[in-house]
Every structure is written in structure tokens, then in C-alpha cells.
């Protein structure tokens, strides 16, 4: 195997072409709203460099992802940016891509075999949200109250976000009762789980979601249980920066925070990192920052909403 492929910051293969014609973006969670935005922004960005962007259709299936990646490697797509559903399971494919002289950029984490990576700290996103919520609870509720977490334990990214969120919150606001931890990543499940939780704990104060979509379901459940949308003793927060949640934050509702990634930043990285590798730049990898968006960040919200439009 190629010695160059052992470290994440290693230089690219000498054989790699200086300019790229094509970048393959393999993002498995095609059902997420972020997906379309990313494809749109990165296609536009790639075009500026005269590069065409192609995509897979994994439909959230690791099997399909594996076969699509294998097809790309056999087809010699010169640069592949992949968000592995299961990181360990992608190591071999990444290696075969490098062995074939292709550029492999890992998205959302890092592999042993890769040309570069685009990192986010999902734990960090959760931590930001948990911290902000704990701070709010301490200030507004005097450190007492009830919280429900909408979590995800089926994929790595979900586990990271869940852990960051719960650890940060429970550490900083130990007096708040954790009344539920329920699996929910979509608004429907978020709604019905929150409804059930609210039936038992009518005085629930906080709902934090592993995704904005799930938290939004909780947001609606609270409203439907009779809570005013601007109730001061209620806090809902999520992660992703979904547009309807950003709009709710902006309007001053009790949907108060979202740990958001800026799609434009990611889209830039999707194009720039492979190009940097191809150009032989040192340290091509990028760490995309996650920021917590609250009502105070009016301009940022507008910018994010514009990117999502």
C-alpha cells in the first residue's frame, strides 16, 4: 500500500492531476433538507473552478453507500468527498480509492486512509447547545425544572451530538430533572414523543433535540399543550440550523437556539479541499466551525436563511 496514505495530513500522490475535472460528493442522508442545499451550493462553487460535481443516491443505506463508492472507485472519479455512515466500514473503500490514485476526502470525521478531511465536531455542537440551555435554566429557572432530550443512538453522528448535549447540560445544570430521553430525529416522532412526555409532565421546561427537526416537533407539542409561543419559562433548542427553526428563533419564540453549520462554509470546503489536495497544498484539511445561533444573532440568521433559500 502507498505510504502516503497513512496519515491524514500527508501530501497527495505525485500522480494526482494538478487540476480536477470532477468531484464526487457522497452524502448518504439524502432525506435531510441540508442535502439539497449542500448540493446546490457546492455545484455552483465547483462550477466557478470549472469542476463538475456528481452525487450518489445512498438513501441512508450503508449498503448502498458502500456499493456506490465502489462503483465510483472502479470508475475512477478523480476526487471523492464522502460522509461515511459507518466510518470503520469505509476504511477499505477509502484505501482502494487512494491505491487507485484518487483523492479521498473524508467528511464529518477522519479515516486512516484519506487525502484530507472536512471535520466538524458533532460533540461540540451538542455541547454548545447543552451549555446554552443549562445557562438559561440556571438564570431563568433558578437551576430547577424539567428537561426532555430527543436523542439518536443509531448512527455515530447522532451518538456524538447526543453525548455532547446531555453531558454538557447535566454537568452545568444538575438541579434540572431529566424526565425523558427518547429516540427522535424527525418532527413527527418529536411531536408524538413530546406529546406523551407532556401528558405526564405538563410542567416540562426544556426540550433539546439532536436535530432541529425533532426539536421542532417538541416545539409544536408544547404549543399544542396550550403554551404560548413566547412563554418565558420554556426553552427548546436543536441542532442543524434548519430554516423553520431559525425563523422561529428570529420571531422570538421559545425555540431559542440551534447549533448550526453554515451550508456555504461546508459547500466551500467540499470544493476547496479536493482542489487543495490536487494542487499539492500542505494541510488541505478544513475544520468547519459550528456556532450556536440565538435570537441575538439576527444578521447571522438572515445569512443562514438566505443560504437555505
Amino acid at each position: 500500500s502507498a505510504p502516503a496514505s497513512t496519515s491524514s495530513t500527508s501530501a497527495p500522490h505525485a500522480s494526482t492531476a494538478k487540476s480536477l475535472a470532477k468531484i464526487g460528493l457522497d452524502y448518504p442522508f439524502t432525506q435531510l433538507p441540508l442535502y439539497s442545499t449542500l448540493v446546490r451550493l457546492s455545484t455552483a462553487g465547483a462550477k466557478k473552478h470549472g469542476v463538475s460535481l456528481v452525487t450518489t443516491s445512498d438513501q441512508t443505506s450503508p449498503d448502498t453507500q458502500a456499493s456506490n463508492l465502489a462503483a465510483w472507485v472502479s470508475q475512477k472519479i478523480p476526487a471523492i468527498v464522502s460522509f461515511p455512515m459507518v466510518f470503520e466500514a469505509t476504511e477499505k473503500t477509502a484505501k482502494s480509492a487512494l491505491d487507485a490514485g484518487l483523492i479521498w476526502v473524508t467528511y464529518g470525521g477522519s479515516l486512516e486512509n484519506q487525502s484530507a478531511d472536512i471535520q466538524f465536531s458533532f460533540t461540540e455542537g451538542g455541547r454548545l447547545l447543552g451549555t446554552a440551555a443549562a445557562k438559561w435554566a440556571n438564570e431563568t429557572l433558578g437551576g430547577k425544572g424539567k428537561i426532555a432530550f430527543l436523542t439518536d443512538s443509531t448512527i455515530q453522528l447522532g451518538r456524538d451530538r447526543t453525548k455532547g448535549m446531555i453531558d454538557a447540560f447535566t454537568k452545568l445544570a444538575p438541579g434540572v430533572d431529566v424526565v425523558a430521553q427518547e429516540q427522535a430525529i424527525d418532527p413527527d416522532t418529536g411531536l408524538s414523543k413530546s406529546n406523551a412526555i407532556l401528558a405526564k409532565h405538563r410542567d416540562l421546561n426544556l426540550i433539546l433535540g439532536v436535530t432541529d427537526a425533532a426539536a421542532y416537533g417538541g416545539f409544536k407539542a408544547l404549543q399544542q399543550s396550550g403554551r404560548s409561543a413566547t412563554d418565558v419559562k420554556t426553552y427548546v433548542g436543536g441542532q442543524d440550523g434548519a430554516s423553520m427553526c431559525l425563523a422561529a428563533i428570529k420571531q422570538g419564540t421559545f425555540y431559542r437556539a440551534s447549533a448550526a453549520l453554515a451550508p456555504q462554509d461546508i459547500a466551500d470546503a467540499i470544493v476547496d479541499v479536493p482542489l487543495a489536495v490536487a494542487a499539492g497544498k500542505a494541510k488541505p484539511s478544513v475544520d468547519v466551525p459550528i456556532t450556536l445561533v440565538t435570537r441575538a444573532d439576527g444578521a447571522k440568521i438572515d445569512a443562514l436563511l438566505a443560504q437555505n433559500a
Binding site: T30, Q31, L32, P33, Y35, S36, T37, R40, T151, S153, V179, A180, Q181, E182, Q183, I185, D186, P187, D188, L191, S192, K193, N195, A196, I197, L198, A199, K200, R202, A213, Y216, G217, K220, Q224, S225, A242, S243, M244, A247, N308, A309
Partner: protein
């Protein structure tokens, strides 16, 4: 003998009642199972039967029931529709788009959704009823294709549909949520259709013995075709209701997995996958069983994976008890 004779005058009424009750249970073996489930949850959580919680269950169950009724009729007539999850998404998106971006009235939005759902049902119906293709493959293909289409047309989530549209999911009529009222109407019409309409008999005849139905001069294609239309429209209506309740809808996730949930409710309610048998009351029981199960496990704060294990097992146990009732009686 004398004791029995003395008791005689009282017996007929009591007996008749008891035996009607028994007959109902025999025909609906899920009924005692559901009752046991409800009691168990009430004892263990203490709040299962609270009005707020029951309202929550009813609202969740409503969208399932709305689709389960026409789907049950379709299954009784020997067909199947797996595409309802995507029709639901499409319906929600169309309604949301009309109500939100186009500022149309609730009625227009709902009609739009019904139209979109019926269009999906139309394609399913043509392919399955008139061209005779396998309903499983066709509707599975449509599930994928319509989801792709919805995502292509509406890549971003829609939200902010206005107060007029919020009525559909949020209003209460005499204290009952609008979706529950709609579901009740759908259930009643379904039951009335099977009981009183000539076509209700035809649905059974087609499901049991297509050849015989055909030779009796029954339109063996038109009736299931109409049911495909209805199922698609009902799924879209459910989508509009969900969109209204959440004031948002996303093409990627809305209604994903819904098809299996509905089909499970229908089959658990005693509708045979092979066609020709089933009742709307059974379907209602199936829907409630799943709704109560889901809700009760959440109330009990069962950890995620145990919830999954319990849910799977409950399905099996529900099936077992439901199927054993009739068995034991026969032996």
C-alpha cells in the same frame, strides 16, 4: 335442575348479552388484548388514561386510521399499496405550498393535496388493476419514485402555512381535535360502505374469488382502481393534516416508514393479506393497539432499544393472541 329452573326467567337477556359480548370478542380477538394493554399501562404509569394523554394518542392514531381504512378495503379486495408514505409527503407538500407560498384557502390546499394523492393512486391503479402488474412491486417502485419526485420538486422544507391552514390540524370540534373527527368520519364511512353498499360486497367477492366475481358481472377492475385512488387521496389528506399540525413539512422525512405502520395496523386488525376478509372495527383496534403501545412505552420511559424490542415482541404477541382466539374456539 331446580336451581337452574328458578334462574330461568333472568337468563335469556343476561345470556344474550353475554353471548353477544363473547361473539364480539371472538370476532375481534384483539379487543381483549388491547384492553389488557391499556390496563397494564394505566397501572404502571398511573397517567395513561389521563385526558391529555388519550387526546395525544387519538391525534397520532387519527392520521394512521384515515389511511388504514381505504388501505384495508384495498387489501380485502386482494391488492396492496406500499406507496402511501410518499403520497403522504407529497400531499403535505402540495397543501403546504398552496396554503403558504400561494396564500390559498384551506379548502384549496386540501383539494390540491387530495388531487396529488389521487394522481399517485391513479398510476398505481392503472398499473395494478388494468395492466395486472404485481401490486407489491409497483407500489414499492412508486414509493421510491414519488419520494424522489417530492424531493426534486421541494428540496427544502416548507413551513409557515398561516392560521387558516392551522385549523385542519389544530381546531377542536366539541372538544375533539379536527383530525380525530375526520378519522371518525372515515372509519364510519368505511364501515358503512362495507355493510350497506353493494360495492362493499363486491370488495369481498373480488378478494376471495376474482373469477367468480368477474363471472357475476362485477367490475373487478373499477372497484379496486377506485380504492387505489381513495387510498392515495387519504394518504395525501393525512399528509396535509400532519403538515398543518407541525406547520412544516419536509420532502425527505415526512411520512417515511408510514406505509409499514399503516399496513401493520391493517393486518394486525385481522385483515388477511391474501384478501377477502377483514372488518373496519378490527382495523380501528389495530390502529389503537399500535398507538397505545408506542405511547405507553414512552410514558414508561423504557430505554430506546428496549422499546424497540418490546414493540417488536408486542406485534408478535398481538398477532398470536389475535390468531389464537379463533383457533381455540374451533378446537
Amino acid at each position: 335442575m331446580t336451581a337452574a329452573a328458578a334462574a330461568e326467567p333472568l337468563r335469556p337477556a343476561g345470556r344474550a348479552l353475554a353471548s353477544t359480548g363473547l361473539a364480539v370478542i371472538r370476532r375481534n380477538p384483539l379487543l381483549p388484548v388491547l384492553a389488557a394493554l391499556v390496563l397494564a399501562f394505566q397501572f404502571s404509569t398511573g397517567s395513561f388514561l389521563d385526558a391529555a394523554n388519550l387526546r395525544g394518542i387519538a391525534t397520532d392514531a387519527a392520521t394512521i386510521a384515515i389511511v388504514a381504512v381505504p388501505l384495508a378495503l384495498l387489501v380485502i379486495s386482494g391488492y396492496l399499496d406500499l406507496s402511501v408514505g410518499s403520497s403522504l409527503a407529497l400531499g403535505g407538500l402540495v397543501a403546504g405550498q398552496l396554503a403558504g407560498a400561494h396564500h390559498q384557502s384551506l379548502a384549496v390546499a386540501v383539494l390540491g393535496a387530495l388531487g396529488a394523492g389521487a394522481a399517485v393512486g391513479f398510476v398505481n391503479g392503472i398499473l395494478c388493476c388494468y395492466l395486472g402488474l404485481s401490486p407489491f412491486i409497483v407500489t414499492l417502485g412508486m414509493l421510491t419514485a414519488v419520494r424522489g419526485l417530492a424531493q426534486q420538486l421541494y428540496p427544502l422544507p416548507l413551513s409557515g402555512f398561516g392560521t387558516g391552514f392551522a385549523w385542519l390540524g389544530g381546531a377542536t370540534l366539541a372538544g375533539i381535535a379536527a383530525p380525530v373527527v375526520i378519522a371518525a368520519l372515515v372509519l364510519l364511512s368505511g364501515a358503512a360502505f362495507l355493510a350497506f353498499a353493494p360495492a362493499g360486497r363486491h370488495v369481498f367477492a373480488i378478494g376471495v374469488n376474482r373469477e367468480a366475481a368477474y363471472l357475476s358481472g362485477i367490475s373487478i377492475r373499477r372497484t379496486p382502481f377506485a380504492l387505489f385512488l381513495l387510498t392515495g387521496a387519504a394518504a395525501a389528506l393525512a399528509g396535509a393534516i400532519k403538515a398543518s399540525t407541525l406547520d412544516s413539512v419536509s420532502s425527505g422525512t415526512s411520512g417515511s416508514g408510514f406505509e409499514l405502520a399503516v399496513l401493520t395496523a391493517v393486518l394486525l386488525g385481522g385483515v388477511a393479506l391474501s384478501g377477502g376478509s377483514g372488518t373496519i372495527f378490527g382495523v380501528l383496534l389495530g390502529v389503537l393497539f399500535l398507538g397505545c403501545l408506542q405511547n405507553g412505552l414512552t410514558l414508561l420511559s423504557v430505554p430506546t432499544f428496549w422499546q424497540q424490542i418490546a414493540q417488536g415482541s408486542a406485534l408478535v404477541v398481538g398477532a398470536a393472541l389475535a390468531f389464537f382466539g379463533p383457533r381455540l374456539r374451533r378446537a
